[in-house]
């Protein structure tokens, strides 16, 4: 956030040079106060100067895309008097476009990613312990916790991906902006403002690259944790008896592959509510004896043929090693 604020204020630092080029091309770098500048007339003649003035007007109005188009049109006219000033203002436009792109980046993606990674590690540990213990309740708890963390991991991965995309777009804009200021310095070596702006943009790019690296580093363990957790949740799902399985877990693919970007529907919220009460359901299931089950099965079979049922001591779920359904 601090970094973002720093970048957001950058155009203010740079904007000192914008007003200079507004009216008189070639005198771009004279510092002029906001009270003194004259608004350029609208483009009436399609000359380099006309396009330049209109572009500078759009730049002041904060309409970056229009300003870019008009200033590029001014450049395309290849008027050597207008060219340095137009490139200078294009540098500002592109820097501002980069700032706008950066604003779209979700804030705090890297800390969110780190927190999700830590939670993922905890959930993995919990799931591994539950798998080793064969305690159904522990497995259900680990499963539910794992599902929650998995959603968190997905959200963090999405945020990091989006942040990286926006950072990438900003980087492209700022590199172009840097090249614009360098071009002005090359066209007019006496232009110290262009040199200064190039230095400022270079520093901003360096910070952006650092931020991008931080994002990459924070995102690196996310994928591994996600796949590890998915694998463990799958194993847990295989080991938890069907009656103990929390509601919403039997969906299979949807449950495993996520619901990225989808808001839960009222139905699924109901399902989650039921999942919270899963403990009650489990107790009810355990109360059915083998005999009762046998009777139930007999009532289901249309031909009355009795299925072989275990009549001995009821086995506890935790002692079952394989799948029971």
């Amino acid at each position: 956030m601090k970094f973002f604020r720093k970048f957001f204020t950058m155009p203010l630092i740079l904007s000192a040079g914008i007003f200079a080029g507004g009216v008189a091309p070639g005198e771009t770098n004279t510092a002029v106060t906001a009270d003194n500048f004259i608004l350029p007339p609208p483009v009436t003649v399609e000359t380099a100067r006309g396009f330049y003035n209109a572009g500078t007007d759009k730049l002041r109005a904060g309409k970056w895309d229009d300003a870019e188009t008009l200033l590029e049109s001014a450049l395309a006219k290849q008027d050597e008097r207008v060219q340095p000033a137009a490139v200078f203002n294009l540098g500002h436009v592109r820097f501002a476009q980069g700032v706008d792109e950066l604003k779209k980046s979700p804030p705090g993606a890297a800390p969110q990613s780190r927190a999700a990674t830590a939670d993922g590690a905890g959930a993995i540990q919990q799931a591994t312990a539950a798998l080793a213990g064969n305690d159904v309740q522990q497995m259900v708890d680990a499963y539910l916790a794992g599902r929650g963390v998995r959603k968190e991991l997905r959200a963090a991965a999405k945020a990091v991906r989006r942040a990286m995309e926006q950072h990438g777009k900003t980087l492209i804009k700022w590199r172009r902006s840097l090249d614009d200021f360098k071009s002005v310095a090359e066209l007019n070596p006496a232009d110290t403002n262009a040199v200064h702006n190039a230095e400022v943009v270079e520093q901003a790019i360096a910070k952006l690259v650092d931020s991008l690296r931080e994002l990459q580093q924070s995102a690196a363990p996310l994928g591994g944790k996600q796949s590890q957790l998915n694998e463990l949740l799958q194993k847990l799902k295989g080991k938890i008896p069907a009656p103990n399985m929390p509601p919403g877990a039997s969906g299979g693919k949807d449950d495993e592959e996520g619901d990225d970007g989808k808001l839960p529907t009222p139905e699924s919220l109901t399902g989650q509510e039921e999942a919270d009460k899963s403990g009650n359901g489990q107790e009810m299931t355990l109360k059915i004896s083998a005999e009762q089950a046998g009777q139930l099965m007999n009532s289901i079979q249309p031909d009355g043929k009795q299925l072989p049922m275990g009549q001995g001591e009821p086995g506890q779920p935790k002692n079952r090693s394989g799948r029971i359904w």
């Binding site: 395309a76 614009d180 360098k182 071009s183 090359e186």
Partner: protein
């Protein structure tokens, strides 16, 4: 003086033969070097055609197109140069240089012929009008006719001579990283990448950059990335 000239010709001929031998042996890089050295001694369309072949075999499409174009500039009757140009342009998918009518006319004869033609016809016309008067010859009808014809030839050769001058502004892209830029600067915005062998026309220059017109638009290109048909 004669001995020095003979020595230079002999050295050029030796290098040319070395290049031919290297080319025949499949050693295209040494062949190209030998032809380049031979050209430094003496410019000849045949050497340029051979250099183009060696360059083409080395994968230097731009250079090959440039030297064949130069060979055709020096000798428009050189069939090998013309045929190689047609083949290479087709293979490299590059455009033909856009020529005006007087530039097109200038390709009918070797470049220096037009200058000679203009010079000789002008002086012939002047001589036929003035010399009989100085020498107190009787004015004959044929004097007038030949003078008129010579003047006509002179006037007709002016346009191709102008075409030679404007064609000297045509260059060929020889660097594979050549790009058309919006401004004459190193950090300029790139408008388009220029394919090897693409013809362009110089309109003006600034420092190390040339403002050129191509068939895909105008922009700035680095001077070292192109070669002129008529090297300055």
């Amino acid at each position: 003086m004669l001995a020095v000239t003979q020595y230079i010709f002999a050295a050029g001929e030796t290098r040319f033969q070395t290049g031919v031998a290297a080319y025949a042996a499949g050693q295209f890089e040494p062949a190209a070097q030998a032809f380049t050295d031979a050209l430094a001694e003496q410019t000849a369309p045949g050497t340029l055609v051979n250099l183009g072949l060696a360059d083409w075999r080395c994968g230097r499409t731009g250079e090959a197109l440039l030297v064949w174009q130069q060979a055709a500039w020096l000798d428009p009757f050189n069939r090998a140069a013309r045929e190689n140009l047609v083949y290479a342009r087709d293979a490299a998918a590059v455009n033909l240089p856009e020529l005006t009518w007087f530039e097109e006319a200038s390709t009918w004869l070797p470049a220096n012929w037009w200058t000679w033609l203009a010079g000789v016809s002008l002086w012939l016309a002047v001589a036929l009008v003035t010399v009989p008067g100085f020498l107190r010859w009787r004015k004959a009808g044929w004097h007038q006719t030949v003078a008129a014809l010579a003047l006509g030839v002179f006037l007709a050769s002016l346009a191709p001579a102008a075409g030679i001058f404007t064609r000297s502004k045509i260059a060929i892209v020889t660097d594979k990283n050549a790009a058309l830029r919006l401004t004459p600067t190193q950090a300029a915005e790139v408008i388009a990448a220029l394919p090897l062998g693409e013809p362009l026309r110089e309109l003006r220059s600034r420092g190390n950059y040339l403002f050129v017109r191509t068939q895909n638009g105008s922009g700035w290109v680095e001077r070292k990335q192109v070669g002129f048909l008529c090297p300055k």
